[in-house]
Subunit: 175 residues, 2 copies
């Protein structure tokens, strides 16, 4: 099982497909979360991801174990990229194999949902006229946004947000 | 949209991911159907796929159009390999992109279900002690099997099966 990676390197789909392919697998699903330029008419210039890397890797591995318990016979590999990402670059790859296809779809979608909820990775969206931290994905800012993937923090709340992120890291460290 | 291919060549996941990636896509799903060695304790040595190629390509393109109608904003590419495939080789790739992830999963799974029902591609399983045509995927033999992916024909029914396949081709040609 695995690997479960958080990395500055470009993510290679083939590599993660290979990790989960084996003679008892009949189906492989791969999810790639890619940087979208346009959201509700607003243009993203690029994204920046930050992670609390040791905890993020640990959480990804926990999600992998969880999936193998729920769906025996699956194999799973996950990689999240951090740093600056340009439009159409891949931020996350989830590869799942299974003897039959239904489980490969289900387990893959379950993985991304769990990652969005439980893994300490933050995204900054940079537009032509500003920027905004989007997530951490496990805490709620005082004002929520409507973005599909995450919770929003306004750029002018950066001080509160930094404090909030530090509080969150403290909370993870004490788990 | 597309391509929709039926080919003897090895299928490259990266190629099909690239076809569907564009600046308004935030999610890409890829399904790879791969040759499984073990099914219910029985060892497959290799598989052989045959297709009625012009109709298979047409049907794949129809499934692509259907998906774009059901889920506007998606892009889809499908490739099915034919000929002899070894264990863990990829028989089919479906790549779907969408602005958001839920649709990318749904549309991809819908595609494989439609392909199994409607595309004239036949699979022969070769075991150590015999072989069996599995599918065409759109007609019912007089005796059905319980395999996940298809309908079974026994090796000793090859004459009936050849006739049945020809009848099916006639039926497609007259549509």
């Amino acid at each position: 099982m695995g690997p479960f990676e958080v990395t500055n390197e470009v993510l290679s789909p083939t590599r993660y497909l290979q990790y989960v392919t084996h003679p008892e697998a009949g189906a492989v699903t791969l999810f790639a979360g890619i940087v979208r330029e346009w959201t509700n008419g607003k243009r993203t210039v690029y994204l920046e991801y930050e992670a609390y890397v040791p905890m993020a890797k640990k959480k990804l591995a926990e999600i992998g174990s969880d999936i193998q318990t729920k769906w025996p016979g699956t194999r799973i590999a996950i990689a999240h990229r951090i740093g600056i990402l340009q439009i159409s670059e891949t931020a996350i790859i989830i590869a799942v194999s299974s003897p039959h296809r239904k489980v490969a779809y289900e387990a893959n979608e379950y993985a991304i949902e769990q990652i969005k909820k439980n893994v300490p990775i933050w995204k900054k969206e940079i537009w032509e006229d500003g920027e905004k931290w989007v997530g951490g994905q496990t805490y709620k800012p005082s004002e929520g946004g409507s973005d599909d993937s995450s919770l929003l923090l306004c750029a002018n709340e950066r001080i509160d947000e930094k404090k909030s992120r530090n509080d969150q890291l403290d909370s993870w460290n004490s788990r």
